[in-house]
Every structure is written in structure tokens, then in C-alpha cells.
Symmetry: C2
Subunit: 130 residues, 2 copies
């Protein structure tokens, strides 16, 4: 991960480490993302600084998350689970969830379907809560 | 990647390196996957051995791919693009696509929406072609 093979000549290829691509969004203090919008799927490439918290929220869209690098605690359905690189999780629609980091930050790929309307333009916050 | 923090106590968490989870499928010679099925999203964790080829095919479902480790050439819409770890790509429905590896294999996360019906049970092959 983190290999910067950027500058693809085709419009359909991207790189996770290329902060110049995607729709920027600040989800919370220390948590930023870049959003890539498809017809049925939206990807969100999230950087979480150490000691950051994404407050518990929910939305009707289905979500999957993949911890690409670092460590985090996933908060979901009242449970808290420590995640390490390579772990991934499924969050059905309307399930309350959040995330936090300790001394080590996290690099997370979030996957939404359908795409979240609020995330289709630059902005701040986690959007509406169900 | 490759960190095996397995055996989560919750049913909604998995690990990319845990070959015991997911629905197994042999896509082609040297290309195997494990499939995870959501309501609107299906994940496919694909291991591609060196010198393997996934023949060009298409399907109506939207697809995204993330090259987690290794190297590959993505074939799509008549173009061939060399991918390195961290690269990802978008494949709208019905766009012909394939993949091949050279001396280095690849570890790929494929994302489908809606879930591909053929991939909901163990089997072989890339499923129907549009």
C-alpha cells in the first residue's frame, strides 16, 4: 500500500494514496476522506489521525469498511472491536456505528451502496443520521 | 496487509487474509476468490498467481477493484493498464474487462453492486457474460 503509481492515462483508474483525486470531505476532527462516486457504489478513502473519534451515527445506506493500514476500534451495534490491518467489516443500513483511533492512526476504505447523496459534493460531517 | 487478526467474536468482522471465510470460487486457472455477500454489495477477495490470466468478460453489475498487493495488468474497454499496489479502478456494468499477472502475483479486492447471483454459491468461472 502507499505505492504512488499515479497519473494513469485512463479516467477509470486511481490510487489510494493520491490525495489529489476524489471529492474531499472532513468527516470529523482528524478524519478526512476523498470520495469516488459510481452509479451504485461509492468509495470513501479515509485517513484517521491518531487519537481521533468518529461519533456514532447511522444512515440507510449499506456500508463495508476495510482497514488498509494502522489500527482502530470499530464501534457497531453497541459493540467495540479492535481492528488491525487487513480486517474488514459489514455494516447493514441503519446500524449505529462509529470509529476511533488510539496512538496509531488508520487508513480505511469505506464502501457505500447506494452512494450517499451528502457525500457527492465537498463538505463536512457524517451527513444525516437515520 | 496480511495481518491475521482472526477469530473476531462478532459475525460482522472478517480479515482479508483469512482463507477460511467467504464463499470459495475458482475464477480461472491460478485465480481464486472468497466471496462475501451483503444486501447491495458483494466483496470478492481474489488471489491471482503469477503468470495467470482472467479472460475478458462482462456482466451488468457495476464493479470496482482495488489492488491490495502485487502487480497486474487491468484490461478494460480495449485498454491495458499496469497496476501497482494501491491502484484501484472503476468498471461500469457491461464494460468488457479482464486481468493478468506477470512474474508477480496480485491480491485484489473486487466490489460488485448489485451482488452477482452466480457468486452466491461456490463454483467456478466468471459467470455469465453479457
Amino acid at each position: 500500500m502507499g505505492d504512488k503509481s499515479l497519473g494513469k492515462a485512463v479516467p477509470w483508474a486511481f490510487n489510494l494514496a493520491d490525495d489529489a483525486r476524489g471529492i474531499p470531505r472532513k468527516l470529523a476532527e482528524g478524519i478526512t476522506t476523498r470520495v469516488f462516486v459510481g452509479e451504485k457504489v461509492m468509495l470513501s478513502v479515509v485517513r484517521i489521525a491518531p487519537h481521533s473519534t468518529g461519533t456514532v451515527h447511522s444512515h440507510p445506506e449499506e456500508q463495508w469498511g476495510v482497514l488498509l493500514e494502522g489500527e482502530c476500534v470499530r464501534i457497531q451495534g453497541g459493540e467495540e472491536v479492535k481492528m488491525r490491518a487487513g480486517d474488514f467489516w459489514h455494516t447493514p443500513g441503519n446500524i449505529p456505528h462509529g470509529i476511533r483511533t488510539g496512538a496509531i492512526g488508520a487508513f480505511v476504505l469505506d464502501i457505500f451502496s447506494p452512494p450517499r447523496e451528502e457525500y457527492k459534493k465537498p463538505g463536512e460531517g457524517f451527513g444525516r443520521t437515520a
